[in-house]
């Protein structure tokens, strides 16, 4: 597990008020409505830390990840990486920054060009950035292949000859070869079998330790996120509703949605007593998000004010906030057990 990073200096990544709205146009091109995929999201990630981002469909976590890398252009907000605001950058500067900001994709079956050998796919990353000489590049690729647990004879193989887990390793190798400082893992293990998942998670964590790499780990599987993350942010319908260090999130979740989410996870233990918080209804469409608190339509604790007033982030404890009218700061407690 990565060491808890010392909270020194400026964070590696800072996201302020990120917004991404997708316009919905009618036949004539007029904007009829907006899908508020990401609505005012802010968080920070320190060097060497893993920030888990969880939520269900339509919550905007994938869009957030892509907006970070400027694979999607944000509608508003700032993304500050190593002190530079990514939004203002020229194409050339952005390309340079991309060396340090990489992504590991979800689908192992479509994230590799089926017609290129593994070696060629990974080497291309180097060619794009003009790194290394012709002969040197193959060496670099072989080295990174070994680091992710593959062998040199895999260099000349085509993607379809590999299993899903192996393909994720290849995708990871491609992201790592440029020496990034932050990697966005967008559901990188979700498409894998359980036994393969654990291999890839261990690999991700080992590389993080070796490289002091930061991860934005986007996933919907809370047990996996719990294992790998230092801090976790919970999203719902485009908003960040809670953020806390991992252990606190699970032991004392402050937002009703988080509580419901955690209780909904099927636990592999038939004797466990389950106090499930049943959420009624469906997840609302991001085209028409509820007024006030976006969660009020399904919240078992909804009050009249929840329908009209958007809750602001309330600090429950140092490092732990929840966007809920009912969240209260905890009284100063005895220092937590180590």
């Amino acid at each position: 597990m990565s060491a808890e990073p010392a909270n020194d200096a400026a964070p590696l990544l800072e996201v302020h008020g990120l917004k991404k709205y997708f316009p919905v146009t009618d036949a004539l091109g007029r904007v009829r409505a907006e899908v508020k995929a990401v609505d005012d999201v802010s968080f920070r990630i320190a060097a060497g830390e893993t920030y888990g981002l969880v939520g269900e469909s339509g919550c905007g976590k994938s869009t957030t990840g892509r907006a970070l890398l400027r694979l999607i252009e944000p509608t508003a907000g700032a993304v500050i990486f190593e002190g530079r605001d990514l939004n203002g950058l020229s194409r050339r500067d952005l390309r340079e920054v991309r060396r340090h900001l990489q992504m590991v994709f979800q689908d192992p079956y479509s994230s590799l060009n089926p017609r290129k050998t593994v070696g060629a796919s990974i080497k291309e990353a180097l060619t794009i950035h003009g790194i290394g000489s012709r002969s040197g590049r193959k060496e670099m690729v072989l080295e990174v292949l070994a680091r992710v647990g593959l062998q040199s004879e895999h260099y000349d193989r085509l993607p379809h000859e590999f299993s899903g887990g192996q393909r994720q390793r290849i995708g990871l190798a491609r992201a790592l070869i440029l020496g990034p400082r932050l990697a966005v893992c967008d559901e990188s293990v979700s498409a894998l079998d359980v036994s393969v998942q654990s291999q890839i998670i261990n690999l991700l964590m080992r590389i993080q330790r070796e490289e002091r790499l930061s991860y934005l780990f986007i996933a919907h599987d809370l047990s996996v996120v719990r294992h790998i993350s230092n801090r976790i942010g919970v999203m719902y319908l485009g908003r960040l509703v809670e953020e806390a260090p991992t252990d606190r999130l699970f032991s004392a979740p402050g937002h009703p949605y988080t509580q419901a989410l955690i209780s909904a996870i099927p636990v592999p233990d038939p004797t466990a007593k389950r106090q499930r918080i049943a959420l009624t209804g469906e997840i609302p469409s991001p085209l028409n998000p509820p007024s006030g608190c976006v969660f009020h339509t399904r919240c078992p604790l909804a009050q009249p004010q929840c329908r009209t007033i958007v809750p602001e982030r309330r600090r429950i404890a140092p490092d732990h906030f929840a966007a809920c009218h009912l969240a209260e700061a905890e009284p100063a407690a005895a220092p937590p057990a180590a």
Binding site: E56, S163, D193, V267, P268, P270, K273
Partner: protein, 349 residues
Amino acid sequence: MSAVAETVTPPASAAAAPLLELDELVVRFRTENGLLTAVDGVSFGLQSGEVLGVVGESGCGKSVTAQAILRLYDETNLVRYGGAVTFRGKNLLKLPRAAMVDYRGPRIGMVFQDLSSSIDPVYTIGFQLVETILAHQPMPPREAEAKAVDLLRLTGIPSPERRINDYPHQISGGMKQRVMIALALACEPELLIADEPTTALDVTIQAQILELLTDINRSRAMGVIMITHDLGVVAEICTRVVVMYLGQVVEEAPVAALFAEPRHPYTQGLLRSIPALDGDRAQELYVIPGTVPSLLAVPAGCRFAARCPYADAQCRTEAPPLEVLRNGRKVRCWHHEVVAATGEVRDVG
């Protein structure tokens, strides 16, 4: 301090004839690489009112088994069956193709994982429900429509009278899954096969669907086969579990026994690989070494031997049979006693 799991206790009488019984089922496909044996001698049984979980990872053959019960591969002309699938005493594999129509729907219903391609996008939900109902039970259309509305209500869809006229693309994933369940129940089958019904759904919706399935199982005393790779889901709603690996059954047990004391190394490995919600985050996750072999290169001896921490020379040369133990358990391993003795699946607190 354990509480009783909230599931149906299976019928006590072992003498009751099983609803469904698979006896050494074999399913082979003709591919351009030769004859592929996707399911190699699978046997298990199901009583009415039971929820049987079939667990395994990719390539284990669980979906093929399910589709073979209903002979859904017949149209491809590339499949060969062996063994028997006995439903209420009749071997389904021996029936003429046309006769299967009477089973699919009225006697055995199926719910699929892939929502987008399982419901026809060009017809309304109501139309498809009514079509299914009328295909097996002729009745006046008005009556069929009323029945369709009831079914939608039963599966928890709000305002079903209006949903009837919706097209599949207008409703959410969770609702589509409910519609699929409604379609499967339309003809009141005795057995429901659910193939990864919640894998594509969000966790809060999944919780709702699992509850729905449990309710249906209880209220109708229907047999349910739940196919999944998610051991959490199995723990939630199943009464008995069958674990499959590379086309074979490697373990079968009542659910509590399986989790408390797995007897097959693969089961044990799977359980250990799952990051527990209360586990130690500092520890590396347990990893089952190696990868699943290809079905085209099935190893000699025990199929799991290459990845098994307990394997010895015997395992690599002699394939273990599925041994029947007490308490309704079966296991396919030479060393299951050792496995049971070693296994502390959860770290002792």
